[in-house]
Symmetry: C2
Subunit: 351 residues, 2 copies
DNA sequence: TCGTTCATTTTGAACGTTCGAATTCTTCGG
DNA sequence: CCGAAGAATTCGAACGTTCAAAATGAACGA
């Protein structure tokens, strides 16, 4: 196997010029049909593939997006982000985009990586997974005109930044739906296990519970627990709830990890039928028959790519200058019902 | 912000030639110290970064490795591969390598992707995650001289292919250790829940159980169950085991998913203290206090990169021609003990 | 002072592609 | 059969880097 054929080799083989070969590949419309076929045949015969780096050098775009892989977490909740990355790779491929991954230690380090990848023209645009309260990365990216989109709202910004494109899922609505569903099926005292404030996502989800739980005063205080994410934490929190004088008759959790823990606690407390709803609809939830609120990841990814590249192309759009077009979108999650959400209520004995 | 500075801009600013700037970056040793400093200062001042594509075009290497993201699985077992990818990104970064990901539908599609990435000089080398019995990809990659390394042995090849570099973890030894550990702590009847044959990894792990369980005849038959991977499957299998006339007093599973299911079954059967050992030591195992056999992923990744790039550099070595150097390595896993493996035996009541 | 050797720096070309302008080929009305 | 307009193709240059070879400078012994 010698060296790869170049555009010149093809040109020679097809008796045309370099540029015509290039045209056949990039704008087939402008070349005469008979010529196009002849060239195409030569391409196939020689097995020619454009050299990506040469093309990028010339066109000054890499058709590559960069994503930082989050630090490993729980392994349950983390799975959402892994699924996100997976789907990103899938949909990027459909647009002829490549995906480059990297890891980083904290925001500063992440920006350093982004800078390197960007300055080297390795990557055209970035996808930020998750946003913090007053996220320092956003300002920097906008400032440095690095095209990006985030999966996550700009929490805590008074004035929405028109340069910042984002997609997010309306966790509040999702939780609200779940609570209402449980109450419609007879639950009176729906408890909440969530994360400590301040947490953009966490506070939002909790708000969904607050506005729909129909509880007041002491009940409202007692039936909400904030804890770090994790199976163990969920177990402990649920155990505490179940020991209350007036225990809950259903629990909604901010994550599947917490919900899995809660399920274990319920079983241990002899209340295997307690309806429990998780969040993210991870495969684990499906496996153990846990109801969960599903984020429409396919749509999230599709929207992110559309915001970055427009409806179809692979040309990066710079961060928007004004707010003519809405540079963001809030998607609605969906409750996936499984045994856990109506075990006790519909008289269905636990496993 | 105008265009990025080029090597020429730096050269002009530092009053030297293009090439000297290049040397400062690539072989600082050969340029006089005073000059080096002057150039370096100019680089810093202008914020110059080499244009990756230009460099790649010239040097004919991309310093990028490609990995296919496996189809989404269980979410528990899948987490291992996600962790693998994560660590790959980390260690690649340390060597100044980039990681490009892609997804594919089946082996043929994967090879098509590999071909595209490779022919376009987007990617220098590939990492295969997981290998099948008589994996069709390996022959193709060797045939087409695509540098690669696999995380997984060449199952079922009579003659080891000297062109094929691989790393793998000795699952048989891991399971053997776990069984011996359980027996040393008093277990007599250690059961096995694994995957249906033929499965390279699965058969190997089962072999570890067979050679150390100390069971014979009917016991040996009855105490081993083969089932697809998954929490539900593990639950059912364990439930069946526990209903045997002579039930096991410990269970070793081929995955954490199975083990999680087994744990649930044990609790449901009122045998919460039954020692259960999983495989892969996923975060879920840690979260629910499940003992598990841990694959040394850091070492796996480090070895894979070393096989591909040598001890330190970022120059891809072609697939080896002969078998002078051992182009593969088998690493030893480690049993991580948690409550689940000695709950019943050491008289420690379950949670 | 001169040639020699080694260290350091510079020069010209090349990597494979696409852009922009220029050229040639077709077609068609008069 | 000519000229013009449009379609199709070609040509020269450029993208930013590094390689290979050539040129320059410094150091040293004779």
């Amino acid at each position: 196997m010698g060296r790869m054929p170049t555009v010149d080799d093809v040109a020679q083989a097809a008796q045309v010029s370099r540029q015509t070969v290039s045209n056949v590949i990039n704008s087939p419309g402008i070349v005469r049909e008979t010529t196009r076929q002849r060239v195409q045949e030569a391409i196939d015969r020689l097995g020619y593939r454009p050299h990506a780096s040469a093309r990028r050098l010339r066109t000054r775009k890499s058709s590559t997006i960069g994503v930082r892989l989050d630090p490993l977490r729980d392994g349950i909740s983390g799975a959402v982000l892994d699924r996100f990355v997976h789907k990103l790779a899938e949909q990027a491929d459909a647009r002829d985009l490549r995906v480059m991954i990297f890891t980083a230690d904290g925001h500063a380090d992440e920006l350093a990586h982004i800078r390197r990848l960007r300055d080297g023209s390795d990557v055209d645009a970035f996808v930020l997974i998750g946003t913090d309260h007053g996220d320092s990365r956003i300002a920097w990216l906008v400032e440095n005109r690095v095209p990006f989109v985030s999966f996550g709202r700009p929490w805590g910004a008074e004035t929405p930044d028109p340069h910042h494109r984002w997609v997010d899922v309306d966790g509040r609505a999702g939780v609200r739906d779940a609570v209402q569903h449980l109450r419609a099926h007879g639950a009176d005292r729906v408890a909440w296990i969530g994360w400590p404030s301040p947490s953009g996502t966490g506070d939002e989800r909790r708000a969904g519970w607050e506005e729909s739980c129909g509880l007041e005063g002491a009940d409202r205080e007692n039936l909400a627990i904030a804890t770090e994410d994790g199976v163990t934490e969920g177990r402990l929190a649920a155990a505490a709830l179940l020991e209350l004088p007036a225990p809950p008759d259903a629990i909604v959790c901010a994550s599947d990890s917490l919900a899995l823990g809660a399920t274990m606690a319920a079983q241990a407390a002899g209340r295997a039928g307690l309806p429990i709803v998780g969040f993210d609809d991870t495969p684990v939830a499906a496996a153990v028959g846990l109801s969960s609120i599903e984020q429409p990841l396919d749509e999230v990814v599709a929207t992110a790519l559309t915001l970055l590249f427009g409806e179809h192309g692979d040309d990066v759009r710079p961060n928007p200058d004004s707010d003519e077009e809405p540079g963001h979108r809030l998607l609605v999650p969906r409750l996936v019902e499984r045994r856990s959400s109506h075990l006790a209520l519909d008289g269905n004995p636990g496993a």
